[in-house]
Amino acid sequence: MKTVPVAWRGRLGRAALDTLVGVAIATGALLSVVLFVTTTYFVIICVIGIGFLALPYLTRAVRWLCDLNRRAAARSGVPVERPYRPEPQEIERDIVGWTRRCKWILADPATWRDLLWLLLNSVVGLAGFVPAALLYYAGEGLFLACGLWRPLADGGTARWYAFVTVGSQPAALAAGLLALVVLTGWLLLSPLVLKGYAYFVKFLLGPTRGSQLALRVRHLSETRSGALDIQAAELRRIERDLHDGAQARLVSLGLQLGAVDRKLGQDPEEARRLLRQARSSSVQALRELRDLVHGIHPPVLAERGLADALRALGLASPLEVTVVVDLPGRLPDPVESAVYFAVSELLTNALKHADAQRVEVVAWRADDTLHARVTDDGRGGADASAGSGLEGIRRRLASFDGVLEINSPPGGPTVIKLELPCALSSPKTSSS
């Protein structure tokens, strides 16, 4: 079994790292005492007024420590969100602004939970020393067993190890065995200690139901205004296209027909020429309307749903596109159209910017989330900085709580993932 040593080494490395983190946590526990005392002191003397000066600085320090612990908790597989309320924007740089800042700090329940955590952590955090202590003790036992007991016993001060008096070789071996037991304990316990601590962190430093709702409301109002902006821009674009395109063409068509009407009696040849012109303007108007319709809601999407629409996109692209779709039933229209336009834009990017040859589009549904992945073998280096097409896609997906994940190292390949929560309706039955 080749994998055993690897698994064992992984476990060893894990335990070693956990020990280090544990020591850091315990150090944090000592820091907690200091921070708790000072912060509480200054909060109390806020009543007098002098505390206001130090409060924001102290809060920064407290939150920094709390964030470190949240990170440590996440490392042990317990992700903890930051619960703080958003900082007030545009704070004046004077006493009024300072007061507002303090008000924001004092009004946030998370501040008080942080304080409570600091108090409890000054005790609980010391548990972080447990892995290090175990390791130290195991090390001591092994050193004794390796012969360190001899000088100590000769000096007349035989060392105790657990319940063994290490005064002879057999006793030293027994101590060594015990040390191995302790070492195993260290290997197994370290992650557990940290995990337990992570739950303690989550309990006090995670968002409460209330602050979760506050965060959600903030996110929703941001994405809502984004969605409204996008929608307004779309409507403006449609209005402009109709106004300058089809509408103008129909006017000129009417004019041409009027001219035909006048010419019919006297110059049938000219009338015929004008009629041909009128026909070609109507073809042009139709073409523009068709493009506009496609931009609003692609007909193939309305007719066939997302799976086939994505396949059609693949067919229409000059690139070699493989489309693998596993989507039973229809999704809500807005979700389908968001994904369609996103994939359409990604294919265009792959063609225009990445200079790709092959693209793979995969879409599937897991639980209530729609996943799509677009991979191309182009030159990579795609970025979603402000104003880019990718940023546009990200904003549009955000209004559905969707996320866009870009992985595009220079030299490629580019892998872009979309995730959108969706409620799938039952598969439509065709009436035939």
């Binding site: 109507s282 139709l286 007909p299 309305a302 229409a316 035939s432």
Partner: protein, 214 residues
Amino acid sequence: MRVVLAEDLFLLRQGIIQLLEAYGFEVAAAVDNGTDLAAAIADHRPDVAIVDVRLPPTFTTEGLQAALRARRERPGLPILVLSQHVEQMYARELLADGTGGIGYLLKDSVLDDEQFIDAVRRVAAGGTAMDPAVVAQLMTSHSRDEPLAALTAREREVLELMAEGCSNTAIAQRLTITEGAAAKHISNIFTKLMLPPSSDSNRRVLAVLAYLNA
């Protein structure tokens, strides 16, 4: 020649009926939904069915599905599909059985009555009529392929017209070249694309479409 027509927009339906009758076709039935279309094809056994892709009651690809079903029941039934937009996927589904007698045109094509009527006749005779927009899409999706890239600009033009379903004569007319020159271009194209040579123009069109659909 007897026609069954399925189109849900009243004005367009009347317009197409007038157009067909002006050119001496007999419109056996004109319906406005997919369910009636199937019945009309079964009852009247037309020489050609002219069908709008999107029909009530579902407003999805009802027309296309009904036409394909009818064709399965009566293999080789000539079908001319009209649509507001062209979609390669639909073209592929129509051409899947590879027996011809298929047309797929944008609705604008009815604006040019001579070309439209020509397309109806061609499809009814078992030929093909593909909209230039479909062909252009097929060509772009293969634009990077080796063999296609080897064609000269003139040969590409000829290939596009051939894919639309034009005969040698029609290609010669459209490009204002002699029929002999058109035939020469075509044989060059077939050599370059490694397609089996064939004198039957319909078989040739189908070969080209099959190649582009690959």
